[in-house]
Symmetry: C2
Subunit: 399 residues, 2 copies
């Protein structure tokens, strides 16, 4: 029940490709489908009949007459069922119930410590899912797919977290299996920054083919969009920008990172590192939100640390620009709320270090979805995964 | 006449998709094409007739009888014309004449200084092309495409070099236009490391979807394969690994790079930097080849510098592994010939710095194509570009 891209190749439009047309456009006629696929009338009829029988497509009125009688129009049945998604952060969780297009219909939020381990966190998600279903008058049988993202490296093929630096007790835990055994539907497990990148791409920058999403929250991570899809790398480990090593001129000694190495970006510029440094400077801060608040009040030591964090993030982003050459960089996470203090340092380093060819059209922007990009992106990723061409037959077999 | 990927979408197999089948498989029958595309017999006949009329496909005998008479078989006509490619390095150029599959049939090599500027270098390539054509009994009218790669950043869409650090006089020079006006055929211009990455991918690692090709020659650069294709980034600037900044513990002062910045990987570990440091240590070396020879003789200062270069390259490769998570890293360029001295340092840094998830299946290998990966890859890239689905109609229109 893994959700992975189907094999590509030269083939006629199958059931999944025909469904994809209805997912992309409302109110298509049989003639529209014939024209866009090149399929014969009888094949189109056959595929449409299968989609109608499965209620994945429903009639949506009639169009203008093309001869004797008006042509029937058809539309993707977005309310045939629901999707459930959980965006798990270091200190809180958001869950949502979505339609089959991946649009959020209702959501819940709750504080939670990811370091409590998988069982209590997944139980909490399950409980929130039940509440969302009940409020919507839906049952577990209506759930077509479940998506969950976590703040750690995920082996995308197996749906397991692998050696996560901050998620104690989660190593190799079978998250997919936990939900699959309870709901009997496809389960997508991904890294939070991948969902965030996809959410920003689809909702705010749909025309951008190369996008880097930098999350600066408690930790630092990145998600990448290449060619309109999430790029995960060979093992799902791509985008691990928080643990690349930076050369810092004014460091007395290299701080030790949560990952065990020294000199990591995150060990200087992550939210937890700012909290550490502010406390060392005698400020009364306990959380990343406290640090953000203090920086926004203009506390001098806090602003100085924030600007330094910006330059250090800028080093790492400059490296990413040199290697990956994105068109847009979106900065999110709690520290994106101190945009003014962070962005100057980031831009300074990127324009100083990267090739002119790579920066002449580069945009560096703050998230417009604030902390909801992960939830929004996860639902869209899940919808794409479930209805990917080549997977629709599987969905129909489940009924 | 730019060579860019065609738009994708849901559509029936067109002329280009049908040609793609013949490029991938020899001796197909009409029934094979119908089965693999889902197209009707009449459409297959129509497309095959067009390809036969254009001599892009030719009869290749008969198969076993499927009823009354044996089925005719057809094959891509690889000798309908030729491709010409030029792999331009900092100090030399290789050119080749290839068949339409992109397989090298004959080649020439000549020393040359890329800093002499575009006119003499392109004239030299043109002269070598004429000699290759004459030797093969071909004329300019037989040339279906020209490919050229250069050791600098290329704006892939316009076919121009942009702000190249080592190619004086080439900035914004219209390489594509220069050849297009002489041959009237499509011209592909790319960065050398992209061609090398594609050559290694197709020839040695065809099943690998994420490959990083590191070239350590006079300079340091990288090419990336993602999903079986060259990844160029938003502007063609991706893979600029030579100018990311590394933290070097034992540096007395950060050396100035050829790009004008300080602390670049290339300023420590590029061939030119090794030559500089060996001369400073009193060794009699003039070229990168001299440095390689000295290192291989076991000269202590030279070996020490080579090991240090390995660790510095390792820093940059570890960053690339963290961001890009490739399955295979191929190391080429002249310095790959000192594999023993370089690789230990590279592996040390990668395994120390990158996530276990990213390194557990990672292979780091030396090139098996030696200095020919660029030429081989460029010809294969060019063949794919010319015969890409959506471009075949253009080819036929030219006749």
């Amino acid at each position: 029940m893994s959700i992975s891209p189907p094999a590509t190749g030269v083939s006629a439009a199958g059931l999944g490709e025909v469904l994809a047309l209805f997912r992309a456009q409302s109110g298509l006629t049989r003639a529209d489908v014939m024209q866009q696929t090149g399929l014969s009338r009888s094949t189109v009829n056959q595929r449409l009949d299968a989609l109608l029988a499965a209620q994945l497509v429903i009639p949506s009125g009639e169009g203008s007459p093309t001869g004797g009688r008006p042509a029937s129009r058809f539309t993707f049945h977005r309310d045939r069922g629901v999707l459930l998604v959980a965006d798990v952060g270091a200190t809180g969780m958001r869950t949502a119930l979505c339609d089959l297009r991946g649009e959020v219909r209702s959501e819940q939020e709750r504080p939670m410590d990811v370091a409590a381990g998988p069982e209590p966190v997944l139980e909490a998600a399950h409980e929130m899912f039940r509440a969302l279903l009940a409020a919507a008058g839906r049952s577990a049988a209506d759930v077509h797919g479940i998506g969950i993202d976590v703040p750690g490296p995920v082996d995308f093929d197996s749906g397991r977290v692998i050696s996560p630096p901050i998620m104690s007790g989660w190593d190799r835990y079978d998250i997919r299996g936990w939900f699959a055994s309870r709901y009997g539907c496809p389960v997508l497990v991904d890294k939070d920054v991948n969902a965030m990148a996809f959410g920003e791409h689809r909702s705010i920058h749909p025309g951008v083919r190369q996008l880097l999403m930098l999350k600066v929250g408690t930790g630092v991570g990145a998600g990448m969009i290449i060619g309109g899809e999430v790029y995960r790398g060979a093992d799902g480990a791509a985008g691990d920008i928080g643990h690349i090593q930076v050369a810092v001129d004014d460091a007395e000694s290299e701080p030790v990172c949560r990952c065990g190495n020294t000199g990591c970006v995150e060990a200087y510029a992550g939210g937890w590192a700012l909290v550490r440094d502010l406390r060392a400077a005698g400020r009364d801060v306990a959380t990343v939100d406290d640090a953000v608040t203090l920086i926004r009040t203009g506390d001098l030591a806090a602003v100085r640390l924030a600007r330094r964090a910006g330059r250090i993030l800028g080093h790492a982003i400059a490296d990413s620009v040199s290697l990956f050459n994105p068109r847009v960089i979106v900065i999110g996470g709690q520290l994106a709320r101190i945009e003014e203090q962070l962005f100057a340092g980031i831009r300074e380093m990127v324009y100083r270090r990267s090739l002119p060819l790579a920066t002449r059209n580069l945009q560096i922007v703050a998230t417009k979805l604030d902390t909801r990009s992960g939830l929004i992106g996860l639902a869209l990723l899940l919808a794409d995964g479930i209805f990917a061409p080549g997977r629709v037959e599987e969905l129909l077999a489940r009924g």
